[in-house]
Each structure stands twice: as C-alpha cells, then as structure tokens.
Symmetry: C3
Subunit: 173 residues, 3 copies
C-alpha cells in the first residue's frame, strides 16, 4: 500500500517536472548552444507562422563540422545517422527560437516531425536514426516535445546529406 | 422530363446518404474490426491535436498477418500494394478513433493523406496502390473522407514495409 | 547621408511594391495562362479548405506538352527540372485559383511547399530544381509567396514525372 503511494508520488513528480521544463535551461544543461539560424539561399524562408502554427522548412545538420555525408547502410552507421538527426534537430530549434523571438516557453507543442533518411535499398532502421531528433525534442521540451512522426527512406538528399527534417509547432498567442 | 427528375432524386438521395454516413456503422458493414491502436516505440506519439486538426504519425499496415514486405515492381504486385495501403488506412482509423474517444462522428473531414510507396525505379503506379487507402476513407466517411493526396515513390521504408501513410484530419470542437 | 535616405526610400518602395502585388496581373505580365484545374482520377480531391488553410494535393506538371519524363542526373538536366517544377507550380496556382473562386487576392500567404524530385543516387541539386516553383510563387504573389520549403530526392514518381509538389496556403476569411 505505502509502496504504491510512493510510486504514485514519484510518477506525479515526474509528470510535473516534465510539464514545467524550461527549454532554454534544458539546452544549457545539455550543453547545447544554438547556432545562428541559417539563411535560405533562394526564394523561400526558414519558418512561416499561420495562426498558432509555425511551419519550418526542411532542415539538415547545419553549421556543424564533421557531419559525414552519404547513405545509411553504405557509408554511414546508425550511430552517425542518429547524431546527424540530432544535429538537424538542433538547427530546427535554432530556427524555432528565431520564430518565437528567443522565448521557447511560447512553444505549446512540437506537433509534427517528418524525417527523410538517405539510405540504401537494404537499410530498414530509419526510426533508429530519427530517434536522434525525437529524443532531443523530448529532452528540451519535455512532454510538449512529443510529436507525431514519420521516419522514411529515400535514395538521396540535397548535397548528399544523410537526413532532412520538417517540423510543425504550435505556439501561444 | 420524368426521367431527369428521377435521376435528380436518385442523385440527391446519393448525396444525402453520403453526407449522413455513420463511420462506425460503415466499418461494421465492411466487416472491419479496428485493431487496438499500436504503441509507438520511441519518443513520439501516434496523434497530436492542435486546434481542430489531428495530425497522425506515419502508419504502415499494423497487426495484420501475412502483409508481404518489399518493393512494388519487384516482390509485390499492385494488388498486394493496394491491400497494404488499405490496411495502413485501417490502422490510421484505429488511431483516429482513439484520438476522438471512440466517436468517429466527430470527424469533419479527412484533410490530407500523404503516402510513400516503396518501389523500384521502373514502377510508376503509386496512385493505384494508394487508392487502397483513399477508397477506404470514402467507404467509411463518405464525402467527408475525400482528401487531398500525394502518392509518391521511395526506394525503401522502415522494416521493409511496402507503404507508409501520414494523415491530417479536421474534427469538431 | 543623402545616399542612405535614397537607399531607404528605394527599399521602402520595393517593399510596398512587393506587398501590393496583384497575383492575376502578375500572371498576365508573366504571360502565364492558368490551365483548367485537372481532375483527380480517384477518391481524392485537388484541394481541401480547413479553417483559413487550403491544403493542395501533390501536383506534377499538368496539361503541358513536351515535359520530359525521367530522373534528374540521368535523362534530365537541372534546367529541364527547373522548368518542370515551374510548370507544376502553375498547376498548383490553377487549383488554388479554383479554391478561392478565381480571386487570388484572397491569398494571405503561401505557407508550405514540399517538393520531391526524381533523381539518381548521385544527383544533389534538388534545391536548384525546386527553385522553379519557389521563384514562380514569389513572382506571382510577392512577399506573400515566400514559403517554407523542403526539396528532397526520391528514386521514382508516378508516371515517371520528374517532380511532384504539395502546398499549404493561408487565405482570408
């Protein structure tokens, strides 16, 4: 009996903690410094707000040295793919931070994450790669970071990057 | 003259019928039992509601025995692809049913269906495959099931499944 | 000092011009005649409005003679891909025009453009291809045409078309 009460209290504390996550503080704890949001090189923009939704352009890993290029299942391991997806996620948060004028507490919910993973025909572990982005979103935004997701394959991405990720985010008025 | 009146009456009846479709009854008539909504295996969820929109994760065929794996144009026929897309559609409806607390009459409109079909470079009939999902939505939701769609190819999908489908749905307050 | 004032005035004029673009007039200036919106051949539709958002189906180049088929990096040059993306964009505007009852001034913002480019594993210039659509949107809608974008590769598209493009648009009440 007493043990179940303790478990409930611990779970409640976990839930409350998740709900009161401060994204900027979480980034600090994780040792993540947001890069300057990258500029698009053509007639498009990195984010558009419509109503309470912010749509973000497809992002690959940005401003990071040593991100390898190529296909999963060929040049790249799952671990390298996971790291690339996490770094694309950091670039998405940098753009999102720009969209909310530097106040990430305005984020109500990471709604949708759509990730394309460059891979050979015999590579089937796209979800393990995209966990790099999904894990980051929950580390930074807590329960608000839990999103719907598609993690799919493709034979090739621009500039031979291993992952490209789109996102939709709900924000406060 | 009389024939055209009869035709108009028949068409009106068809339209009225389409508008008053009860999705749960339609599922019964079609002999479809919704599977328990599958659980995600990572830091994402199967659906997120924002305003009146429900975004659903990418779904493949779930909980079905005998769904073959592989590429269209190689191991799989268009008929097998159509069946796989229909079964992914059933899984999407199971998740949607969970999102609307079991009351599918809350669905105002199936808005967007985005389907990726694993295929060889020489396979061009992705729309015929995705009809498996589109036909199901209209059978179950009537005119409310008519959606915008993209049916595209890819070289490979997670776990070597033949189709993966995302959906956006408008629901009542 | 005087020069900077002149520059500011010129920039302001450019901004004002961009804000007051009339899409129908721009189409005329560009010599673009919108084709009749193409009909879907299955249980889906070309556009759905939900709230102030219009979702458009995946469009390829429509009603155009001489659009070549195949993959970028193999049969097709970047220039041919750019032209195909521009013509898919014209088809998207034709559908959008239908959705707003022929009054394109109702467009508040081209929100999202998602473009798949059929290509070999060694082709990395998908953004240059998708510029064909992005440039068109800004030529026709001015600043309202600036969208978020993903420009990605795939091994094959329906009917062997070189590009397929989805769009989300915000419109007035």
């Amino acid at each position: 009996m007493r043990i179940s009460i303790i478990i409930i209290l611990l779970l409640s504390a976990a839930v409350l903690k998740a709900q009161h996550v401060n994204p900027a503080e979480q980034l600090k704890k994780l040792g993540i410094e947001l890069p300057a949001p990258s500029k698009p090189v053509a007639n498009y923009v990195k984010w558009v707000r419509t109503g309470n939704l912010i749509f973000l352009s497809g992002h690959g890993p940005c401003n990071f040295d040593g991100i390898p290029k190529g296909q999963l299942g060929d040049e790249l391991t799952v671990e390298q793919g996971y790291t690339a997806a996490r770094q694309a996620g950091i670039c998405l948060i940098a753009t999102l931070n720009d969209a909310v004028d530097g106040d990430l507490t305005k984020v109500v919910r990471i709604v949708r994450v759509f990730g394309l993973v460059s891979s050979t025909d015999e590579f089937y572990d796209h979800p393990k790669v995209m966990n790099g982005c999904s894990d980051l979103m929950v580390e930074v935004f807590g329960d608000k970071g839990k999103h719907v997701r598609a993690a799919v394959g493709t034979n090739v991405l621009p500039f031979n990057i291993p992952v490209e990720i789109e996102m939709v985010v709900e924000v406060k008025d």
